[in-house]
Symmetry: C2
Subunit: 311 residues, 2 copies
C-alpha cells in the first residue's frame, strides 16, 4: 500500500434523507453544518478516538460509529498499524440531518485516503453503512451515500450492496429548521404503516420518477409537483409540532416543496435561489418563534462535493 | 375555428404500459402494430363509425371507444357538424399492447387536427382517457399518454388530470410476444394484492427513480438493473404460460429486462440494439414453439413520434 500522508482531515457534511417522495432512497448533502474528522497513523496498535465536542458520544471504538467503520476497513485490508482519530462534531446527534452518517462517511473517506485509496466510493458506502448499524441498528444507506457522493443520490437497492445513482440536478438550495426536540427512532418507525395501499404506492413511484426527470432537466415546476409524500409524512408529521404551519409558510415564501428530514425532527424545504431560501428561513423563524421550542435554522446550497479533504 | 382539412388519417401505434417497475405509470410506444383511423366531416349530424377489420367491435358510437372520445371533444368545443369515422384495426383487442388506447389516442389526435388544433397534448390525453373508460371501465392514462406523446412517458399522477412527463431515453428496441390466449382484466386485477409491504414499495420506487435516471443518461447497465418488478409480476405472471422461460431465454439472448405488457398476455423485452431484439425474438419463438399456444412476435424500435398523420 502507498500511504499518501500520515494525517488526513475531512469535513463531512450533514445530509437530508427521505427526500419527500423518495422515502428510504433519496438523499442530498448540505454545505453546513459539517463534522471535522482527523485520522492519523499511530505507533500504538489499535484505534483511539477522541471527541472535541460536547455531545458526550462514546469514545470506545467498539461503540463509536467511526470505530466500527475503521474496524471494517482494517478487516478488509489486513492493515496493521494503529490509528488515532479526532472528531469535532458540529452536527447535533438526533437532529435528523445525518449526524451519525457524517461520522461514518467522513471516517470511510479519510481512512481510504490514508490507506492509499484502495476502495471505490461504492465500497466506502458499504463500510459507512456498518457505522450506521452501530448508530441506529440498521445499515441505512441513503445518508452515507449522499455524504460520500455529494449532490443528490438515489439508492436503487441495498441488497446485496447499495446501488447508488448520483443524480443530475439544477441549482438548488435547502432551508432546514432543527427544532430542539427529541424524536426517538423507535417512535418514528412505529408510526409508519407496514403496508402501503397500492394506489398510494403507485402515486409515490410516479412522483419519484417525475422528480428524477425534473431534476435532470432542471424543470423546477415538475420538481415542485413531484415533491409530495403520501407514505411517511402524513404519519410522521404528527411528531413535529407546527409541521403543517412550517410547510404552508415555506410554500408561501417560494419553496418548491419539502418535508421531514430523515425521521425528523428537522424539516427542510427546497428552493431554486438563495433569495427564496432566505425568505423561507424567515418564514420558518416566524412560525417557530411563536412556539416555546428552541430551534436552529440552516440555509445552504445543495453540496455537490460531499466529504471534502482539508489540507 | 379554422378547419385544416375535411379528412384526417392517422396511424396510432400499439403501446406497452406497466413497464416493469413502473406499474401504472410508465408506458412506451411501439412502431408496430398500429391502427389506422380516418375522420371526416359529414353533412349528416352525429357520429358514424365503420370498422374495416374482423374484430367485431361495436360500431354504435355509444359503445365504441372512438365514439366516446369524439363525443367528449364535441362537448368541449360545441362543434356541431357530423363526423364519419373509418377504423382499420391491426392491434388485436385484448392483446395487452394498448389496443383500445390506440383507437382512443388516434381519434383524439385526428379530431384535434380536424377541428383546427384547439387542444394541447395534455388535453388530448384527457379525452382519450374517456375512451379507456368505455373500453375497460377505468380512465387509465398510461397507454394513451405513450400513444399521444410517443417515446417513453411517465404519468406522475392522474387526479385531477394526468401529469405526463415525456422521458429522455437512448436508442431502445422492444421485442413483444403475444400469446393467443385471453386474460380477463378482472382476473389480472384480482390477482394483485391491494397493499404493498413497505420494503417492497421502497424497492419499487428506488427502481423507478433509477430507471428514469438510467434512461436520461443512456446507461444501459443501470436501466437493466432497474427493470425489476416486485409488485405485479410475481402475481400476474401466473396467468401467462411459460413466462419465466420467456424471460430467462430473453435475458440470455441479451435483453436488458422486460415483463408483462399492460395486464398481459403480451410479454415484452427491451434491448439496446436491433440485433439483440431479433435474437430475443428467436429465443421467444423457441420457447413458445414448444407449447401448443399460437403466438405473434413483434420487433420494433421504441417509437418516438406517437400518433402520426398520414398524408
Amino acid at each position: 500500500m502507498n500511504f499518501e500522508s500520515s494525517t488526513i482531515t475531512v469535513h463531512a457534511p450533514a445530509t437530508v434523507a427521505n427526500v419527500v417522495c423518495g422515502f428510504d432512497c433519496l438523499g442530498f448533502a448540505l454545505e453546513e453544518p459539517f463534522d471535522e474528522i482527523r485520522i492519523s497513523f499511530s505507533n500504538e496498535p489499535g484505534i483511539r478516538i477522541r471527541h472535541n465536542d460536547e455531545f458526550g458520544l462514546p469514545e470506545d471504538p467498539e461503540k463509536n460509529v467511526v470505530g466500527t467503520v475503521l474496524k471494517s476497513m482494517i478487516r478488509a485490508t489486513g492493515f496493521e498499524r494503529g490509528l488515532e482519530v479526532e472528531i469535532t462534531k458540529n452536527i447535533k446527534p438526533g437532529s435528523g440531518v445525518g449526524s451519525s452518517a457524517a461520522c461514518a462517511a467522513g471516517a470511510a473517506v479519510a481512512a481510504n485516503r490514508l490507506l492509499g485509496n484502495p476502495f471505490t466510493k461504492e465500497q466506502l458506502v458499504e463500510f459507512a453503512r456498518d457505522g450506521e448499524l452501530t448508530a441506529c441498528g440498521s445499515r441505512i444507506a441513503d445518508n452515507v451515500s449522499a455524504c460520500i457522493f455529494g449532490g443528490i443520490t438515489l439508492v436503487r437497492a441495498t441488497e446485496p450492496i447499495a446501488d447508488v445513482v448520483a443524480l443530475e440536478f439544477p441549482e438548488l438550495f435547502a432551508t432546514v429548521i432543527h427544532p430542539q426536540i427529541e424524536i426517538r427512532t423507535e417512535d418514528a418507525r412505529a408510526v409508519l404503516p407496514r403496508e402501503v395501499p397500492l394506489p398510494t404506492a403507485i402515486r409515490q413511484w410516479g412522483n419519484v420518477g417525475a422528480l428524477v426527470a425534473g431534476l435532470a432537466r432542471g424543470d423546477y415546476d415538475l420538481i415542485g409537483r413531484a415533491l409530495e409524500d403520501h407514505v411517511a409524512e402524513p404519519y410522521r408529521k404528527t411528531l413535529i409540532p407546527g409541521f403543517d404551519e412550517l410547510k404552508r409558510a415555506s410554500m408561501d415564501a417560494g419553496a418548491l416543496g419539502g418535508g421531514i428530514s430523515g425521521s425528523g425532527p428537522s424539516v427542510f424545504m427546497l428552493s431554486g435561489s438563495i433569495e427564496d431560501a432566505n425568505r423561507i428561513a424567515d418564514a420558518m423563524r416566524t412560525v417557530y418563534s411563536a412556539t416555546s421550542i428552541d430551534f436552529n435554522i440552516y440555509v445552504s446550497g445543495v453540496n455537490r462535493r460531499g466529504v471534502t479533504f482539508v489540507e
